[in-house]
Each structure stands twice: as C-alpha cells, then as structure tokens.
Amino acid sequence: MAWLSVPAEPGIQDPYVELVDIGKSFGGVRALDQVSLTVARGSIHALVGENGAGKSTLGKILAGVIAPDHGQLLLDGEPVTFRSPREAITRGIVQIAQELSVAPALSVAENVFLGTEPRRAGFVARRALRRRYDELAATAGFELSGDLPGRTLRTADQQKVEILRALCRDARLIVMDEPTAALGRPDAERLHRVIRRLAAGGTTVVLVSHFLREVAELADRVTILRDGRLVRTAPAADETEETMLSSMLGRSLGTTFPARRPVPAQAPVVLEARGLTAPGVHDVSLDVRAGEIVGLFGLVGSGRTELARALCRAQRATAGSVTTAGVPLTGSGPWAALRAGVAMIPESRKEQGLMLGRPIGENVSLASLARLSDLGLVRRRAERRAVASALNQVGVRVPAQAAPVSTLSGGNQQKAMFARILLRGPRVLVADEPTRGVDVGAKRAIYELLTSLAADGLGVLFISSDAEEVLGLAHRVLVMRAGRIAAEFRGEAMTEAAILGAAFGAAEGGA
C-alpha cells in the first residue's frame, strides 16, 4: 500500500482527513491536478482561489459528491472511497451546499430531523422530536425556535438548519461552500461565530470561500489553489489578504491570445445601457462600440449573467434603458433584442443554448430561419448551404448536419452556437462564459472567433470569470461586484491584480 507510506504534512498534529495526489477532469478540462493536503481535526480549513481554480471541486470530492479520477482520500489514516454523499455522511462528512434545501411546509425541528425523525409505531413522535431538537440547538449554541415554519426562515437561519441537520447526523467534518455569499454583514458575522463554536466543539470545518477577509479572520489554515493546482497550504496567521491574492494570480499556462485590432476612433457606439436595473443588477451604465471587445469580469454571483440577460431582454429590466446603434430597444423578449441586432451566447449551452436532441443543422439555422424560407417553408438547400458555410467559418467539421448536436464534443457544441450567431449576423454579441468547459484548443479557437467578429465591426461584450482571458482579449475591462460596475480599466491599468482586486473588493478598488 503505497498510499500509507505518504507522510502527513509536517506540522499537523492531529490529521483527520488527508487528500493525496487528487486529480479530476471534466470532459477534457482538468479541474484538479495532483492536489494533496491535510486537514487537522477540529480546525477551520479554508480553500481559496479564483473562479475555476478547483476549490469547489475539491470540497465536493471530500464530501463524496463527485469522485476523483485518481488520488486517494485518507480518513484517520485509512483509505476510503466515497461513491455518494450518503457514504460520506456515514463516515461523518457532510457538505452544506450553496443551494439550501429547507422544506417550506415543515417546521425547523422537522427539517432538522428530516428522514431521521424519532418514531413511534410509524408516526413521528412529536414530543421526542421537540426535546431532541432543543438539546441539539443548545449544544450548538443556536437560538432558533424549533416551531418556526421553514418558509419564514431567512437565508442565515436556513443555513443554521442545514448545520443542525449535519450535526444530528453526527457530522465530524462539515464542508461549507461559500456559506456567506448570500448573507448581509450581520448575518455573516453571526455565522462566523457559529463556525468558530463548531470548531471549538471538535467539529472540523472545511470552508470554501472567495471572501479573503473572512478567510483571514476565521480559518486556522488556508489552502490556495490556482488553475487546479495546489499553490500552498499555510497557517492563516502567516497569510494576509494581499499574500493570498497574489498567489491566486498569474496563471502561467502560456496561453497566447490573437492580436487585438485597435478600435477606430470614430467607431459608433452599438450598445448603450443607461441606469439598467433588473433582479441582481443595480444601475448599470455601459457602452460597447463597433469593433470593440469589452470584457466583463466578476466573481460568481456578482451579477454578470443577470446583466447579460437584461441587456438581451431575456430578463425584464425594472429601470433604465438599452439602446442599439442609437435606437432604444423596445418590445419584450429576446426576440425583440435580436431583431434590433443584439444576440447572446448564453452561459450554459446545455440548458440555454442548444436543443441537444435536434440535428446540428437545425441548431445552427434556428435564429436565421426567416431569411432562409419562402412563404413560411424552409428552403432546405439554401439552409444546408448556409449552415455548412457557417460551420466552416467556425472550424467545425461535422459527420452530417442531420446528426444530433449532442454527438459533438463540448468545444464543437460551443462553436456551433457561434455558427448560429454568425449566420444571424447581429450588431452586438453578448457572450456569457463562452469558453466554459471546453478544452484548450477550442478555447483558442473561440478567442480567434471573438477577435475576428470584432474585426468585422461587431461590438462584443465578453463575460468571463477567467481574468487572464479577459485581459488577453478585451480592449477595455469592466468589473462587476454586487450587481454594480465596480471599476473600469483600460490600457496600462488592465492588470490581473487590478481587476481581481476590484472584483474581490480589496482596498484600492479601481478607477
């Protein structure tokens, strides 16, 4: 057993969980690569990194939500394999996911003991349930009445329910993925106290977070990840927000970006938003000029996608205006935006982009059928030719246009969505994470597509959570935080440290 001979990290007195040489790929994209770390019993261990650095993936592997491709998980020095979260729970490891699951019709106590209720003759023993809840809440130090119905709970209290649920299942290690992301400051501080109390009581907490201040205040040890690799694990006392941030930067994958063409000085503004407000978006104003790639960077949950959807009329705006080439966008729905020349490549190609069961050809021609038909009937030969030429332009060779689009690889599916846009020929393209989940080769091809679209006079709003690609492609970068444009950078000021700093809300902000 080679695994057993791997020495524990020096300086850890009471190792509880050890991850050894963990690797995980998703469809050709490496999310984690040779990551090893040790979590001490009763400690608060933070995982930090940029979007996509692999911190959430690592948390999920720990909790049995996903299985690693290779590597080994040791629990108290003993190798374990979790095939499901259930198996992890039986070994005392519970994850509290970002999406909370509190049944609205049940009371707090019923929620906590859901599935493990004390029973008598098949009926829930209410009094016993109540007593056990009070004991549990007292042990955890929570002041949360067990009688409150689930639907009245605020997010912070729902989290307490999840934590109590974990504790009543005898959890010894709780993985929390961005627990404070949806919380206001007072609630976040309350949750911090809860986490400290858990650790003091001997429960181990693995905290996945992109709030560096929180990590610095709360954690005993910090593991920094970058591009799926371990940078270092160190005592939190030795780290500051600045040292963590600088270690998260500087992915040196050597990706090359196509040369940017300068935007002509007199290039007209093709997309203009003024005071745009929608759910998750507050008072955003921005301009995109013809031939310009404007990068929109922000952390997960900063409102990037919401902004994109509001710009394309996929989400109704509650205030503000969007103008394309000087003409205000009227009418409702993406149909109206597309008619005005604003097209979108959505964030999730499976859920919002492609009709997976339908042929490749139909997927590509969908947005241009009006042009490819006579008297309401599709001119199939013209369609086939147009689709073939668009696919050729984006560099996808297909076995047959009639094959379901689901038979294409992830990268080619993404390119097929670009082919749809090319065929439609819009004035503005809002591309939301167009390189997510594709391999390096397809990424490069998509960079070239975006650049050549801009060179042809399209205005491009390029949304990404990969700071490097935003900097490599965009003429100008907008950074979003908490639903607002927090900063704008151009020219020399466009550095990774600057945009990450603005996105994380570090002191110096931006221009």
Partner: protein, 333 residues
Amino acid sequence: MDQQDLKQAKTGRGLPSLRPSAALASGLRRAGILYPFLILFIVLSVWSAPFFTKVNLLDILDQQSSTLIIAAAGTLVLVAGGIDLSVGAVYALAGVTAAHLALFASPAVAIVAGIAVGLGVGLVNGVIVTVFRINALIATLASSFVVSGLASLVTGGNLVIDYSRPGFADLARSSFLTVNTSTWTMLAVVVALGVVLSRSTTGRYIYASGSNAEAARLSGVRVQLIKLITFVLSGGAAALGGVIDASRVLSAQASNGETTLTFTVLAGIVVGGTSILGGEGAMWRTVVGVLFIALIGNGFDLLGLNPLYEQIALGGILLIAVGYDAWSRLRQS
C-alpha cells in the same frame, strides 16, 4: 516546460467524434413503431381473410379519420412541449353545436360554427397556458370539464338528431373516387399539418420550443406564441373531428367521445414514438401509431377475441411505448 507539455496533452483534437451508443439509440428511435405495425399488418392479413380487403381497410381509415385529424394537431402540441386533454370535450361540443345549428341553419353555417367553437376553446386553452403560465395538463383538464358542461347546456342533455336534414351528412358521407369525403378531409389535414411540422419555419420553432424552450427563446423564437398556435390548431382539429362524426351519423350528444377519445388520441401519438416530453416526434409516427391501435381493435373483432382483453393489451402497449421513449432518451444523454 512541464506545464507546456501538459498543455499539449490537454489540447483536444479538432475532429468531432460520434458516440456510438447515441447513434444507435437515435437509429432505433427512428424506426420505432414501424416494425410492430408491419408485423401486425402481415399477421392479420394471413390469419383473417376479410382483413386485407379494400372494404375493410377503407373502413378502418374512415373510422379513424376524426381520431387521425385530432391526433395530427395533437402531435404539434406534444412536440411543442404541451399537452391537450380537452380534445374529447371539444369534439363533443363542436359536434352538438354543429348538429344543433344544422336543424335550422344551412349545413355550411353549422359546420363553420362548430369549428369556430373549437378554435375558440383552443385559443382560451393557449392563453391560459402561455399568458397565465398554468401547467397545460391541469389547464386543459379543467377546460375539458367546462367545455363538457357547455356541450350539455347546448343539448339540454338530449341526443340531437338531424335525420330531417340529410344535407348535413354531405360533409362526411359523400364520396369521391370511391373514398368517403371524411377520409379525404383527414388526408388533407394530416398532410397539411405534416408539412407544417416538418417543412415550415413554424414547424422548426415547434420542435425548438419543445426541445429546449430557453434556447429557443434566446434564439429569437417566440415560444409562447408558438405554443399558443398549437393549442388553437388542436382545438380546431378536435372540433373538425366532432363535426365530421356528427355529420356521419346525423346526430350528436354531449357525452360523445370525451375521455375515451382524448386517451385514444394521446395513446396513438405516444405509441407512434412522439415524446410526451416534447421536442421529438413526426407526423408519420402519429399516423402509424393511431392505425396500429386501430388494427388491434380490428384484429380483435375479426379474430373473434374477447374485446375485454383489447383494453388490457392497449394499456400494456402504451406503457411499453413510453418506457421505450424514456429508455432511448436515457441512452442519448
């Protein structure tokens, strides 16, 4: 250097690869119901002398004409991701409306009014589903009760008899090239809706809406409008079926068809291989599916089998069809 090598290793190839299991599943799905249908057809031809005769085959087609018309429009509804449980009730309401009007108005007025009633109900169904975003299953189930009630109001609970107005029978009973007009009407409707589904832009939008409504919406398809259109067509087709059958027998009553018809139509569409989950299906499938069920009934008659077993067989076939659809979708994803 190390990282550079890794990057090379990670780089994907340019050529797309076709996953064999998905290709197999879609191939099987394509053939689907055709084999069982042909086998049943041949078996009946061999076992029963009266089966493979022009009279019997035309009879089957004629009997199924209203079912096929309703199922043709129902196919559009299902492909678009909806469902219409009100067709049986609309069929009855349109039948009694036309039959009632035929008593004192011209047959043309009666026919047009009957169909208009169906289009109206279809529009209401469509608005409830698309504007008020009420689940199609519940919305059309509710409207089927309302429509049934309206049909009873029209007749006052009685059978409407048009024996005194033989002109009303021309819609179904006149014949052209030895084939009944009702069969011709059915063929025209099925071909027309088949062309809409497979050749028109509207048809593409129907598939897109049912396959991935959000993707279709973001590609500029007015998904709700498309769904609304399918409900209007479904209501109109149900009414046409009701009017044709009322014309055939020169009478109608409010309890005609109703749930049995609704489920026969749905069963035919689904047995044909059109998915109840939307986005998949074809007109020829529906035709084969409806006729397959009709052949089973015809076979029970001709072979003198106990008709009690017919329903049991139908239920089993329906389960197999839906199970097969779920299975092949699972393969595909």
